[in-house]
Symmetry: C2
Subunit: 349 residues, 2 copies
DNA sequence: TGACAAATTTGGAACGTTCCAATTATTTAG
DNA sequence: CTAAATAATTGGAACGTTCCAAATTTGTCA
């Protein structure tokens, strides 16, 4: 079935030039005569030649493999799917192709896939590290000069670039908005306490509480898995407190959706009976009912930026690690029961 | 920064054996003495050697690159994200790594990414073809002996394996269920008429209509983009018909969600005022409000099966193209206003 | 036209692995 | 103890490209 491969030598032969010339044409070198170039290109098309990057990589530097890796901790979360799409867009148009793997929060799996990607010679890696990833896990990778950009989560002590959203400011905004609507008992729901994201967002929550003259009570901070199911669990616990909160900021949109589910299970309507704000602005946030008020981080844009950052580092040879924080903005929709929506809601009744 | 690479020769030297022996160890050959193997492995770890698959591929057959490609037409659709996760699971544990690309329904982009993947020497490809893909687009790929498995959509005339869900039977089930609930005017909403998926599902709809003694009227078949926005548009058009439908089967879940949105915009509550059934059973289907009655195709399982099929073909050398249709089942939830849910609904009032 | 410069082309040595045939070391059988 | 068989190891060619230094062709100017 598989007829034998057409190589650069076959092309050279058919075009009546040397393999070196063909190679030059392949690389778009300006050194070759226009006529020759045309002839070679014609033969290439005619014989159906396909470039063998493996062979080329053997001779060239590491950083020219035109492969980047992207490994995320949970691809079923649409935030990461979006992120991957963003990355794909920019690497694709830069002529790269991406290895994508999902770790499902397993550091073992993560170690394996990164090792596998290294064997294949990736020029760079975009990583949303699994929970529990340590700087040591990235040690050999960075030592070998492969640029790494961490997204979403940082790894303490790792000398790699990172792109995270402005978690603290974002959560600050969310709390301020709720306080502005008159809420005093605002809960912080969801997330694993040992993650940087949790810490940052919680810090923003606390900042804002004191800034708005409220008391950040520890029992209003309820951690859980950062998932829809986690959200349900968290609101369950919040609703049995002696002094129930009247509003909540959630670690992310998934948790927020779960919180809405949980509220309904208790005959409470999110938006009118209880205000909830998410974080991320995943696609479903705007179409859900009620539409979710959330902090928009534009996952696809974040993917694009991460890819650009990575490509910059790849091309720069050995740029310094760079930490960029991506700004976020509050998107007010219905789930927080904002004034404008209240009017609309009343009009319906 | 990047210190020079450790090669098999360095290992050989340090372990006091020849490079051939090291190579044998790397491949887990039984020909090498246990003592030697242990010594070599120790050195490998010690020097931090990383296997260079590019070099190995140069010498080995095409089919051993341990890379498979997966290209989908819309990664932002969580159906495909799920599918990719399924594929990743099985290829990962088979020691493969996957190139993943998104075409966004562009055949040009698709052509580019497939070409790029070929250059990198993929051993096989899982493809959910962009709209408008023709058999000719896959011609060179299959001619070069690279196994291809089409998923979700087939490409007429292409001699490649395919894995599609049983669209016809699934839609048949959906319609029969609605008819059983007493609905007579059932619309078929969403999808582009020039796709095989549309044709199959529509056929199932028509089958079932006549089987249930109903008349399949053409004005009840309303095509649109197979997206949430398309669903909104489709239901808009359905609601201005002289004789409004009272229920709808939708091309997929995305359309169904859009239909629900559109219904609410007209003060109609999906589930009680109008029955809607989707297709795919994406993750959100069970947590949405109302939970979506839909035809479950288990996207992740489908990804796993596609990957298994592909790996089988890769290992077989040159297996025949195989067309497998994956069975589906109706999952009754709230959006169709099924009896069990009506009771629950009444209890709430 | 000759000399020099510029433009183009080229052979061969790498790159890091696998594979083959051949070699050497170790057992086993007689 | 030797021959044959078996186990283990090995050097070198090959894979398809790029890179370098050198060679060849073409063009320019006096």
């Amino acid at each position: 079935m598989s007829r034998e491969r057409v190589t650069v030598i076959d092309i050279a032969h058919a075009a009546g030039v040397s393999k070196s010339t063909v190679s030059l044409v392949l690389q778009g070198s300006p050194l070759v005569n226009e006529g020759t170039r045309a002839r070679v290109n014609a033969v290439i098309r005619e014989l159906g030649y396909v470039y063998n990057r493996g062979a080329a990589n053997l001779r060239q530097s590491h950083s020219k493999s035109k492969i980047i890796g992207i490994v995320v901790n949970d691809l079923t979360n649409s935030f990461f799917a979006e992120l991957a799409v963003g990355v794909d867009m920019v690497v694709q148009s830069a002529g790269y192709v991406q290895f994508l793997s999902n770790t499902g929060e397993s550091v073992d799996r993560q170690r394996e896939v990164i090792a596998s990607m290294r064997e294949h010679g990736i020029s760079g890696l975009i990583l949303s590290p699994a929970r529990g990833t340590e700087a040591a896990d990235l040690k050999t990778l960075v030592a070998s000069g492969i640029p790494v950009v961490n997204v979403v989560r940082q790894v303490a002590g790792a000398k790699v670039s990172s792109l995270v959203s402005d978690n603290r400011t974002g959560m600050h905004e969310a709390v301020r908005h709720l306080a502005g609507l008159g809420h005093g008992r605002i809960a912080f729901l969801g997330g694993f306490p040992d993650t940087a994201v949790f810490a940052d967002r919680l810090a923003g929550y606390r900042d804002a509480m004191v800034a708005m003259g409220l008391v950040p009570q520890d029992d209003l901070v309820i951690s859980s898995a950062p998932s829809r199911a986690g959200g349900v669990a968290a609101i369950e616990r919040a609703l049995v407190l002696n002094e129930r909160p009247t509003a909540a900021v959630c670690l992310n949109d998934a948790v927020a959706f779960g919180v809405c589910d949980g509220l309904r299970a208790h005959r409470l309507e999110p938006g009118s009976d209880f205000a909830v704000i998410g974080f991320d602005d995943v696609i479903e946030a705007q179409t859900a009912v009620p539409a979710l008020t959330t902090i928009s981080v534009d996952p696809q844009g974040m993917g694009r930026r991460a890819a650009q950052l990575l490509l910059k580092q790849i091309n720069a040879g050995n740029a310094e690690a760079e930490a960029v924080v991506s700004s976020v903005r509050l998107v007010v929709r219905q789930s927080c029961g904002a004034a404008s929506d209240k009017r609309e809601r009343l009009a319906l009744l």
